[in-house]
């Protein structure tokens, strides 16, 4: 089937197209240069056309999510809709059910999302949920930052072993890249402890966060994976944590990049939670300036923000000690899930309120990061869904970024607490994003950071993943009309995925099974064989499942996208 999206105003940052009126053509699911005269014409005159959105960090599938859904029926009840047309029932606000997750991403014009924390032991569960999510492709990142095998090899200083281990484990659990969460801290949580800062060693292992991050980064580059290490640094949410964040970014500065498809060697996730100054919540202040400053001066770093949206939400992370502390702070129900030999996880409901000083400070720090990081290719829009807010708020964040007037109004009207301007520099920042920068932070940059070679741009040969928004950029002043911006970005006029029209005028009109994107390292078979021989005795002794039943079989990936990477030394 051939299509022409006619007369749209195209933003395709990867190809340096910033608001040009032109046609976009696609055929059999791929973008093409030209089509025959039989092509079906979709008239999008003067509407915004972008590649479909790419979310670089969210929690959408897996055991944490299900724990949240089981223990928070009050959240599930919030988003209930009846089955309608091609859509099944939806439920949930901060932790939507799987079908709802797919529909809602689709309605916003998104085509790809990363599931940012997969415990390898329960990877089958994550893949089962991915199968239940329609319309949006999912990239799972397995957790390695507290894995006992990695801890052991780091202790012994064996980087090649780590690379071989990662290479095998990505095959075993069908994952895309390396996720590190509070390195050594989640292992310390096995004893109810945490580590403080990047140089505090894990009990027993005597390995520090710095050593873990460095070693995994070196292994990552040894394999030349399409994505860099994806790091949630130590000390999340602690006042005065920005030096830890800066040290984390800095500790891999000398690691040489070994991949042509991306620019960075470290991706810092939900940087907002890691950019706090002060010494306690009493004197907490923004540390966004220092973090942004480091990012501006160093091209080996990218980040996503984790913007607070001022909603009631459900926090969930593999940073389990932080979640326990949080539950003692806010008194809400605490869930925890430790995973043998691998990681831990915790959940706590959280209410971010504009009336609360801390929430407002967090809100302002997130926006500061967006506005102070100069190169939009180094920063992505996320809410660390659902931690700082649900992903359905992305359009609202876009409206804030495009309107200084709206931000000032929120501070002036006390929609947010005065800490938002007294303890940050937000009130002095008048930068406003334009549509091209929005296209970068919501799709192009994320696709580049992940090294995707099939999406995130409207280049011929790429997947026909396209979003059309009902806005005429020449006719609207986003600074003055934030509500219109939010409305348009929340209800795509068209969402096209692999050439199929999934959303029309904000309604899901077609369902498409999602695909799972994973990395298959080639040319490392010898090392993998060697490492498996080394790992198996420990595996057999200390895991409670048999290796045969640990592996994720093809049964759980009915629609895989296998990214083959040639390992290079």
């Amino acid at each position: 089937m051939e299509y022409i999206l006619k007369n749209g105003i195209v933003y395709d940052p990867a190809n340096n197209v910033a608001g040009e009126k032109k046609d976009v053509m696609f055929k059999d699911g791929k973008i093409v240069d030209n089509v025959s005269s039989d092509a079906k014409i979709l008239d999008v005159t003067d509407k915004i056309v972008m590649p479909a959105g790419v979310d670089p960090h969210a929690h959408v599938a897996g055991p944490k999510l299900v724990t949240g859904r089981i223990y928070r029926p009050e959240d599930s009840r919030k988003g209930v809709t009846a089955k309608k047309g091609v859509c099944r029932s939806e439920s949930g606000f901060s932790i939507p059910s799987c079908p709802a997750t797919g529909y809602r991403y689709s309605r916003m014009g998104y085509g790809t999302v990363t599931e940012a924390a997969v415990p390898p032991l329960e990877a089958k569960h994550t893949h089962e949920e991915i199968m239940a999510i329609p319309n949006v492709d999912v990239t799972p990142l397995p957790l390695f930052g507290n894995n006992w095998f990695v801890l052991q090899y780091v202790k012994e200083g064996q980087i090649e072993e780590i690379a071989a281990f990662i290479s095998s484990w990505l095959k075993i659990v069908k994952g895309y890249g390396i996720k590190i969460v509070n390195p050594c801290g989640s292992e310390a949580w096995g004893w109810g402890m945490n580590v403080h800062g990047i140089d505090d060693p894990a009990p027993y292992w005597d390995v520090t966060g710095r050593e873990m991050v460095r070693a995994l980064s070196q292994a990552n580059e040894m394999l030349g994976l399409p994505h860099s290490i994806h790091v949630h640094p130590n000390d999340l949410g602690h006042p005065g944590n920005f030096p830890t964040t800066v040290s984390t970014m800095d500790c891999v500065k000398d690691v040489e990049k070994n991949s042509s498809v991306r620019n960075q060697t470290i991706h810092i996730t939900h940087a907002q939670f890691h950019s706090y100054g002060g010494t306690s919540w009493r004197d907490a202040e923004s540390g966004a300036g220092e973090v942004a400053d480091y990012v501006n001066k160093n091209k080996h770093v990218t980040c996503d923000v984790g913007q607070v949206t001022l909603d009631e939400t459900t926090t969930m992370t593999a940073d389990a000690p932080m979640e326990y502390d949080l539950s003692r702070l806010n008194g809400l129900k605490w869930a925890n899930k430790d995973i043998e030999l691998e990681t831990a996880a915790g959940l706590v409901p959280f209410i971010y309120s504009g009336k609360a000083p801390v929430s407002s400070l967090q809100w302002a720090i997130g926006l500061e990061l967006f506005l102070k990081i100069e190169d939009p290719w180094q920063v992505c829009l996320t809410t660390d869904h659902p931690n700082a807010g649900p992903f359905i708020r992305y359009p609202r964040i876009i409206s804030w970024l495009m309107s200084n007037q709206r931000r000032q109004e929120m501070m002036d009207n006390r929609e947010v607490h005065p800490w938002s301007h007294k303890r940050t520099s937000l009130a002095t920042l008048d930068r406003e994003y334009d549509f091209n920068e929005i296209a970068i932070i919501t799709r192009a940059a994320a696709a580049k950071i992940y090294g995707y070679q099939d999406r995130g741009e409207l280049t011929p040969g790429y997947n026909a993943d396209i979003a059309v928004y009902d806005l005429n950029p020449n006719d609207i002043d986003p600074s003055k009309e934030p509500a219109a911006i939010e409305q348009a970005f929340g209800n795509a006029m068209y969402t096209i995925k692999d050439g199929q029209i999934l959303v029309k005028d904000g309604e899901v009109v077609q369902i498409k099974p999602s695909q799972t994107i994973w990395t298959n390292v080639q040319g490392y078979e010898e090392q993998e064989k060697m490492i498996m021989e080394k790992v198996m005795p420990t595996f057999n002794r200390y895991y409670t499942v048999k290796f045969e039943n640990y592996k994720v079989h093809d049964h759980y990936l009915p629609n895989p996208i296998e990214v083959k990477v040639q390992a290079s030394k």
Partner: protein
Amino acid sequence: MAYEEPVTDYDNIVENCTCAFCGCNCDDLDYLIKDGHVVAVRHACRLGASKIMEDMDQRLMVPMIRGEDGELAETDWDTALDKAAELIAGAVRPIFYGWSETSIETMKHGIRLGELVGAVLDNQATICHGPSLQAVQNVGYPVMTLGEVKNRADMCVYTGSNPMNSHPRHLARYSTFPRGWFRPRGRFDRTVVTMDPKFSDTAKMSDIWVGFEQNGDYGFYNAIRAVLKGKELQHDYISGIPKEDIYELAEAMKNTQFGALFFGLGLTHTLSKQRNIDIAIQMVQDLNKHTKWVLMPMRGHYNVNGFNIFMAYEMGFPYGVDFSRGYPRYMNGETNTIDLLTRKECDVFMVVAADPGAHYPGGAVKHLAEIPVIQLDIHWGPSTEIADVVLPGSFIGVEAGGTSYRMDGVPIYMKKAIDKPETCRDDEWIVRELLERVEKIKAEQAIASK
């Protein structure tokens, strides 16, 4: 126990099979196979082994329909499926109950069917660990995978649960006996405590037995919490336990390095029901101020947790999900099977891999006897006696593959080892057939009404 000679007469061994009995989902079983039958099982407990080996005992072999004379009569698959589909398509308030002894793959078709006809989907949690889930929704859910206990725990507590009888390999494989990374001497590195009114088989092999009085659970845990918070106990005996013992126990629990509490139906089904679990969870949360503690419900069936997980990711709620209004509703006491049956709301009941005839209260079974019941199962049971259509399925983990979730949420693919009896069908196939046949009837009705 009489000595039995090891089985030496077999054709082949299938390794790493998963046991389809309790929530332990032991996945290290070896099946010894002779002439297409499992003749012996290695590593399994007696419960698991007997279920697997005696799979042909009282086996439902052919589809049956209850005739005018009130007797079940053999029929062919087409007739039975059509009859079941007709009943489901014509139902006003159908319930699809069970699912805990079948695969996630089967449930996938089941939920589609439920959404199509506006059914209630519910599982055994409604009569077992439902109160636990309610408590989890009240106060939280601090759990772990079982390997955490194996590798780290120096104190294991069983309360309201007797795993030596109900989950025989739980202590052997996960909690008490195995040698873990940080517990190299296994049993000798751990303190085992049983808190239970009964001096059960588990209590017999524990280091400490706390025999609080019946229905004394809430008071007992409340007292421990009070002591943990530094309060003085006002009575000399609490729930039948001397207060000195409670002080001592609380101190011991505080001074462990890693403690794990396992609770069973003894807690969920005594006087204070979900409130017992509330307070046990809160006790664990309080203990985390001092050291590391986690807890875990001792789930009974091998996939009872799986259904809760499956429903939660598909529709946001764990069990008792009502689609009658076209959207999912979950309201304890309103959308649960027992309530619907005792209120006589249900008009067609499908039971998938469960035995309500054996487990339900009298009032609920009485209503079941009055309405059409469709049974999908592998064995004869009391539910067969009240069933109007019987659809013989296959044995997951032995005759058919499928996904299940262990009590701690670890997903396991239970592989197939032997072929099913020729006249039986896979659960997955049966439910998919029902879905397709009901869809067809609905489509015909839609055309007719136009």
